[in-house]
């Protein structure tokens, strides 16, 4: 009996999602006993041609992490889509764009200018930008993949069947998701799997320390206070995004006395993470004075960066509005 085939691929990512698969530790061995990995660039030596040779839909599941930033990414994920029965967006970047998605606050020209000219440690006297290099004498043509104008989440490029949340998904969540997929008892298409259907507060050990009414007078920055690890961090003034973030991670950050930053993304009934996070924080702020609101907003420092840290490309606006000249 042939083992089901799986593929893993990385787009614009940090490598953390790949590591989280490795973090399954011994369970990885259980996994490779039951599946056949046919493509995994970070770990195995299969080439793209090997995938191209496979019949359509012969890969049972492809796990793709990272956001779509380059035309190369687009090409490969489209290929994997045609060869796979199920495509799973693995991790925050492929699900919603992730941290690299914050690049959508800048135009491509601005990004290139910064990276290739302005960064203090770069020396680029000839002002070279990524471009196709051709040397007819040597018969060489090196084409550099195109840097797409926006970073896109996976589902804006191909049809996605399931999402596994996290930055990266924890080993538990990854293992849960795999179990669900192997069970054959598949949830509706488009579901987020492996994690909770409730927000983080549901599993947070500090939730029960909240007073009856949640009203925060002042937001504090993480560097400003040493929080009491036994008391709800929001109550202490840290803008914890636990209430607006999907649970399932075991409240890892909270257990280290750090407020949640939202890497498990939004819940099913919410359509824009940053907007909901903003509404929630504004609602618990205890003031009726506009000036005070502005003052507390400054304490939050960078609204877009903080509230759309993992989800800007998937947000309703997708990034900064482009100005046409």
């Amino acid at each position: 009996m042939e083992k089901p085939k799986i593929a893993l691929y990385w787009c614009a990512s940090c490598g953390g999602c790949e590591e989280s698969v490795v973090d399954l530790a011994e369970k990885v061995l259980d996994l490779i006993n039951v599946v056949d990995i046919v493509f995994w660039p970070v770990a195995l030596d299969f080439k793209l041609e090997d995938v191209e040779k496979l019949p359509d839909k012969s890969i049972t599941a492809s796990f793709i992490n990272g956001g779509i930033r380059l035309s190369e990414h687009e090409k490969v994920v489209k290929l994997l889509r045609s060869k796979s029965q199920y495509v799973i967006a693995y991790g925050a970047c492929s699900a919603w764009g992730g941290i690299p998605g914050l690049a959508n606050l800048y135009e491509r020209d601005e990004i290139f200018k910064r990276v290739y000219f302005e960064v203090p440690t770069v020396v680029n006297e000839e002002g070279i930008l990524p471009r196709t290099y051709e040397d007819k004498n040597l018969g060489i043509k090196i084409e550099v993949t195109e840097f797409l104008p926006r970073l896109l989440p996976l589902d804006r490029v191909i049809d996605v069947d399931y999402y596994i949340p996290g930055c990266p998904p924890t080993p538990d969540v990854t293992w849960n998701a795999i179990q669900i997929l192997l069970s054959g008892n598949l949830p509706p298409k488009g579901s987020v799997i492996g994690a909770s259907s409730r927000a983080l507060c549901d599993e947070c050990p500090l939730n029960k320390t909240k007073p009856e009414k949640l009203l925060i007078k002042e937001f504090k920055r993480v560097v400003e206070i040493t929080p009491d690890p036994e008391k709800c961090l929001l109550v202490q003034g840290l803008p914890c995004l636990g209430p607006v973030t999907r649970g399932g991670c075991g409240a890892l950050c909270i257990n280290a006395a750090m407020p949640c930053t939202g890497c498990f993304g939004m819940l099913d009934r919410v359509s824009d993470y940053g907007a909901k996070a903003l509404s929630y924080l504004a609602s618990v702020l205890d003031t009726e004075d506009e000036k005070e609101v502005e003052k507390q907003m400054e304490k939050l420092v960078d609204l877009v960066g903080r509230l759309y840290r993992y989800s800007l490309p998937a947000s309703k606006l997708g990034g900064k509005v482009i100005k046409r000249r």
């Binding site: 359509s271 509404s279 877009v304 509005v321």
Partner: protein, 139 residues
Amino acid sequence: MSFEPKIVVFACNWCTYAALDLAGTSRMKYPANFRVIRVMCSGRIDPQFVLEAFKQGADGVIVAGCHPGDCHYINGNMKTLRRMTMLRKMLEDLGIEKERFRLEWISASEATKWVQVAKEMVEQIKALGPLKSKLEVMV
């Protein structure tokens, strides 16, 4: 054909919606660029609605409710104030000019104020141009 902005208005039932009704019964005239969505209290208005409006192609959005202290539900408008103050900043950071998003307090008797705000906003947004052509929506 000159540009006619599309502006979505979220109006609270007790104050702003009534003011718009009064403008109607008084036969006041104002530009037809507005589409009004009625909620019971401005406190119901979720920032997600505002973003959806811009995503769908609105050139401007108005969130309107009762004056502070007059909210039919005691202090719903105070929550609106906090949320929209923060949202305005976030919209600016995302490149949407602050003239495109207004938070207004319009009481049931202030039909004149509504007409004034309406005319002003249309002029301002006409000068800014359409947002849709600027907005690259990820489809």
